[in-house]
Symmetry: C2
Subunit: 199 residues, 2 copies
């Protein structure tokens, strides 16, 4: 009992997803500016003009990708923290989840970080709150741990920054010949972060 309207909207949603998927491939390989809308359209199996039915511009496509990437990474982090018990476990769980997300989604993560600077200032501002929430999440864990003595952290702000920096920088090199298993690297990074927090 598929109505013509439903059929159309399904086709549309498919093209939209194809375009998003194609743009991840292109942006991560060639970079935002060197990627042409023709390339993206071709990878998605559409004409160059079809993109503009689904996205108002190439910038709009970039924004959707980067916003989605930030959203998913934050959700992985926040979910892990919520289920953890105490600062030590929370730190391990947070670093594990955040690292695993960036390893598993290294292409999208790389676009979210490397092409972030090519968002318009307005689009960057629309994502700022997620970035702040990520920072705050880790700072809170370290602060709680330092207060209760569960962790030993001389400089909470800087240690939080360093731990996140480590996790995020994964997207620059992952996967490599030596490391290509998201769970393995996540587990190791959780160990390293624990050491940074004095465990």
């Amino acid at each position: 009992m598929t109505t013509p309207a439903k059929s159309l909207s399904r086709r549309s949603a498919n093209s939209r997803q194809q375009l998003l998927k194609a743009s991840i491939e292109s942006f991560v390989t060639t970079g935002y500016h060197a990627t042409t809308t023709r390339e993206i359209a071709q990878k998605a199996g559409l004409s160059p003009a079809a993109m503009y039915v689904h996205f108002s511009s190439k910038q709009d496509l970039l924004f959707e990708l980067i916003e989605h990437g930030h959203h998913e990474a934050y959700r992985a982090l926040a979910d892990a923290i919520q289920q953890a018990d105490g600062p030590r476990e929370a730190l391990r769980a947070a670093v594990y989840a955040f690292t695993e997300w960036h390893a598993t989604n290294h292409r999208l993560g790389r676009i979210a970080q490397y092409e972030f600077q090519y968002l318009t200032p307005e689009n960057r501002a629309r994502i700022a709150h997620i970035r702040k929430a990520i920072d705050a999440s880790l700072r809170t864990i370290l602060q709680d741990g330092a207060r209760t003595g569960a962790l030993s952290v001389p400089n909470v702000r800087l240690t939080a920054l360093a731990i996140l920096s480590l996790c995020i920088d994964l997207v620059r090199w992952f996967p490599s010949r030596m490391h290509s298993d998201p769970q393995e690297i996540a587990s190791n990074y959780a160990d390293i972060a624990s050491r940074m927090a004095g465990i």
Copy 2:
């Protein structure tokens, strides 16, 4: 007693330096692909065609910058290690110097890391040995430290990777509102790296 030939070669060297300086500004702000050779030439006070006397292409300009950046960063690291005494001091000195270099030269460092992927495969290969030397330098310190017991490092390869990752990721965010002093961040990162190596 300046001969015409000397005068000419001085003028030429100046233009070359101006072009390199201008391209750092442009590449770091706009990225390699979105930067036009016209922009670079204008910033250097030259006509669009003048660039091609000093560099054979825009790619050639990028390569010179990135090679120079890698070379300088490695030299800062190697010098620090050579003057240090023992694995603990070597680790501190290495992380301090490498971090300080990336903080001080964050624009060039950012180009060296972010635009590296846009070098031709041939140009990338011409820099590979410097990257390997940087990795090997830190691995050697950790290996020596683990052997003599001066350091406690469960996983030498991964810890070396993580420490370098931390230092390099500076170029993504440095300077920020909270951190803008290269020596201060270098000192703090040396502390953090020491913790990662079990001190």
